[in-house]
Point group: C2
Chain length 425, copies 2
Amino acid sequence: MALIVHKYGGTSMGSTERIRNVAKRVGKWVRAGHQIVVVPSAMSGETNRLLGLAKELSPAQTTSAVMRELDALAATGEQVSVGLLAIALMNEGLDAVSYAGWQVPIKTDSAYTKARIESIDDQRIRADLAAGRVVIVTGFQGIDGEGRVTTLGRGGSDTSAVAIAAAMKAAECLIYTDVDGVYTTDPRVVPQARRLATISFEEMLEMASLGSKVLQIRSVEFAGKYRVPLRVLSSFTDWDIPIDEEARSGTLITFEEAANMEQAVVSGIAFNRDEAKVTVLGVPDKPGVAYRILGAVADANIDVDMIIQNMSHEGRTDFSFTVHRNDYARTLDLLKTQVAPATGAAEVSGDPRICKVSIVGIGMKSHVGVAATMFRTLSEEGINIQMISTSEIKTSVVIDEKYMELAVRALHRAFGLDGEPAVAD
Amino acid sequence: MALIVHKYGGTSMGSTERIRNVAKRVGKWVRAGHQIVVVPSAMSGETNRLLGLAKELSPAQTTSAVMRELDALAATGEQVSVGLLAIALMNEGLDAVSYAGWQVPIKTDSAYTKARIESIDDQRIRADLAAGRVVIVTGFQGIDGEGRVTTLGRGGSDTSAVAIAAAMKAAECLIYTDVDGVYTTDPRVVPQARRLATISFEEMLEMASLGSKVLQIRSVEFAGKYRVPLRVLSSFTDWDIPIDEEARSGTLITFEEAANMEQAVVSGIAFNRDEAKVTVLGVPDKPGVAYRILGAVADANIDVDMIIQNMSHEGRTDFSFTVHRNDYARTLDLLKTQVAPATGAAEVSGDPRICKVSIVGIGMKSHVGVAATMFRTLSEEGINIQMISTSEIKTSVVIDEKYMELAVRALHRAFGLDGEPAVAD
């Protein structure tokens, strides 16, 4: 008997028919002798519907008081899900009880719409599990010190599930979603992409931060911090497949170094089109210039990802960095009107039509020449590299976005990741 | 400056456009210098939608655990409303804060789906009002001793509003709904029906229990117990009518005897088609027979309204009573298979096609001959009276349902209630 946390995404909870399937699947795990805590998301579309109503009533939603009310509003989506799932489970003959975040309680800070979990009281959940009940806890939300409902931000239900698994010292946290695991890259771009049976925590962290949408990055960080074994698997398989088969399906995010020794040097290719590049040209190369540029950007609450400072030439240098595409216009304006005059820069330019492509693999730590293989592959395809950034287990490049698919496919092949083309269902 | 509770029904909260109008109306009251607590219902249709989903998942919803989850589920409807209204109010430039029942807290017993309010802590509400905020509290719900969400049953938001007004010692509780007050009778049946400027608490209680759907009877009982001045008025008037005019509109439910001295002997005509009549014929007339009949009915959880025992004839009597039409078939079956054999009754018969028509008026206390006028009026229309029941301030008769409209119109005229025909809008 093990204590296992199941998390079901919005698509898995999208209709009463699907909720019934979730109940049957959970029932199978309970009958196999496990204690199950379930964390469901809101029914798909529900959070957007609620926030859409709020937006109609107040187009500019900026004050903390409005954020507080948006959280109270949005949190109802998951509260509906837990009630419905409890009823569905009881209809399957199981004993079940639902909890909203405030009832557990899951305590958070007061950063409305993006709160962070501070503590989870597992007393009531443990008592219910001991009494033979399935415990269903709302994802995405908690309660702050003022007794107000908070939400954790988009994808927060993954984080809730992992945090509960950590607090309960669960044997495993199963993230049921609409894909059957983590792939070497997006199968929509590379039909030869393969599902990974295991991926190391560090790799998953890079994949999540680099644009793989399978898991919310905060949930991966949480899993890493508390060493929660995490598995991504599909809720769209038949609910009555044998439990051993289901327990081994999907992708396991593992903390065992050994498990990765056998793996390929590169585990996956990540990419995203969310960023834009800006460059400050001909800025005097003296101490403090990087701070004067990036400090102003940070003050405007703009996140910076990759940063490149060119070799100095006649006492002047060029300074490039990437920001989220949504911040592109604002960043360019800031650089032109404030930073350039203040630093004596000659010119400001930018390009929103870029993409970032990354190779990720824990094997890169111990293998030389991996980055070289990446650059050679891109060069053979005639793709110019605009920026480079590296870490122990990943190498990212910025290229023209029109080459994105070409680059991803070439790299996938070059690092030996191609499998049999996936069969479309 | 006065503390006033506003309650808005589901139709008044039915769309973002209507919520915006509620916000503007509340804003008008605040700017006139009042402290306002608002209790909104769920958006119209929302509670039915939620319970409909639950019914799809579990057609037979009988256990206490299922009821508990139904309450957690249904309560989200009002939680959405308070969040949206708070946001709408802030968009109007007002400071506002929302509370779910559990946050106030509004404490109830654990009778899920029909809980009763035990206490209301007004501390947080008072602090917010003192800080200049509009306070919005969910109707229909509370929290029990176990920390579970409970609901008060259909129409429970009226009760919540009155209970909050009582706890806060509010100057008045305004029930905004889709009609503009309490009428002498249903204007759909009698076009000459008039809106009453005031009605006594006792009369309102009779009207509510006799089938007038304007106010939930529990809310009227609550208002009576704590002497909360209650006013029913329309949320569909222009929101920007002068505040004095609005404050005097609708119907005031009053506790002042004096206010009623001037009124007509009869204030209104109530009627409903919800009941059915059953008769046990030729039952031996000896002590305990009424108990043996009605005890069996009560044991089957069937509510009985009117009861008539005929004069005894040769040691046998007939015994008639009315039940809700939904219970008619079950009652008839019970009487035939169990009660008749046990009591030695000769026959059981019934008639579901009846209606109850009542005249209600506090003036009946001090005026003789009111019932006689009622019976004469019906007789002049050729309407046979099947059953009669009286109290200090009402007289009810059961007649064939096909005469219902005729009887109501004739009585409305006979007691001088006809006004100018209402103009249809």
